[in-house]
Assembly symmetry: C2
Homo-oligomer: 248 residues x 2
């Protein structure tokens, strides 16, 4: 499902940042009432390649062929790869984000939920989910289902480059409000790093989103039986890019 415009807090924030509004922060509310204003977030969504974190730049070396950019945001990855000559399809479930991508020059942008990707988009050689966007899968069960379908929508040598975070080690925080929340997730049978969040901007309140963060071990369990395998990881201080390839 895509986000209705009257709930598109994320897209309105992106549009405000594109229009040069000062002091735009990404306000994220978690289901337990935790709230955080990410003050560097919006700038990162618009950052040119030279300002990207090192592990994102490294991940770009593994991109080949036709690319699907999942949760494209302000289009930084799509713009970079299309400049490098790739055929890129950028998808986002936020109408505002899609508008920002278009205004910034991303050639193929679709307002589309990742779960609704099908063969009408053509076949892909690389699927990109940077910026913790493994979370766009929504849950371990949904990830398993969608990964199976993605086999048919991708070439034999396809790769998924998906960023996530191991909250049980250095990707997590010792703060009690995070420790308690992870325990609460486990008590409910969720992955410890499965956060449920929404974005707020001005008077707009985004829809609640399940956004799982997984360790490499948890990712391997999710991949098991889907026809995909974790080939390697590209690590940063607190996150990692999973390089996922087809099982042969």
């Amino acid at each position: 499902m895509t986000v209705p415009p009257e709930r598109d807090a994320y897209g309105a924030m992106m549009l405000a940042a594109l229009d040069g509004e000062a002091g735009v922060a990404e306000i994220v509310e978690r289901e337990d009432g935790l709230i955080n204003a990410n003050v560097t977030g919006p700038a990162m969504y618009f950052a040119p390649f030279r300002r990207w974190p090192a592990h994102h730049r490294t991940a770009m070396r593994l991109v080949r062929g036709r690319v699907l950019d999942v949760g494209a945001g302000a289009g930084r990855v799509a713009l970079h790869l299309q400049e490098r000559g790739h055929d890129v399809v950028a998808i986002d479930n936020s109408p505002g984000a899609v508008e920002v991508c278009r205004r910034r020059g991303v050639r193929e942008t679709r307002l589309l939920d990742f779960a609704d990707v099908d063969e009408s988009l053509g076949a892909f050689d690389t699927i990109i989910m940077l910026g913790n966007n493994f979370g766009v899968f929504g849950s371990a069960a949904k990830a398993k289902r969608l990964l199976r379908r993605l086999r048919a929508l991708t070439s034999e040598s396809a790769r998924i480059l998906a960023e996530s975070r191991d909250v049980s080690t250095r990707g997590g925080s010792d703060a009690p409000w995070h420790v308690e929340y992870r325990q609460r997730n486990v008590d409910r049978g969720r992955l410890p790093g499965q956060i449920r969040i929404r974005i707020r901007f001005r008077k707009l309140v985004g829809p609640w989103m399940h956004y799982p963060m997984v360790s490499p071990a948890e990712l391997r369990e999710i991949l098991d039986g889907t026809g995909w395998t974790l080939a390697r990881t590209i690590d940063s201080d607190d996150t990692y890019v999973a390089v996922i390839e087809k099982t042969h």
Copy 2:
């Protein structure tokens, strides 16, 4: 009433900023659901005199004698004036803010609601309410009552330096979410600039506060009959410091 520690979102934010936490923003929620993350706010609370806005520095020239700093926050005004040799009493209704003031070296700091100020604090020559802190009065009616009482707690030549904002002119915004809210206030018999807000930080949700912003004309009406008069204003681009003196 002072803020109970479990609702002291503002104080927790101040303590996090004092402890050097990166990216601390002041998240303000208005009763109509508008939310804003002030990304420069916390830094301003801690700013040394040379970084203050020009109209705040100008206002300091009018300070004399014994000083009451109302809504002292992180103590920037109190610290500056006590360095200049003034006897300063800093009050705040936030336990966290009071702790920050003390840790930063403000000599006399009290956890106290402005409405509860009485003669036990001694007499004052200057009362300071910078940073839009006229709003600490809570409403026009409360301001009138408290101003009358402040006559007896102050010397003959006392001054109140109170900052506010004229939302009907350059201090306001044309954005529809602000225009609608001001109209809603008027419809309810409130001053157009009387905002009702609360602070959020991590999982802490501050108490709702009425926080009026007044034009010089509205301020004159409030002062009428209280024994105080608006002597002059020190203007900035969007706010002004009212210089309030006793009517003789």
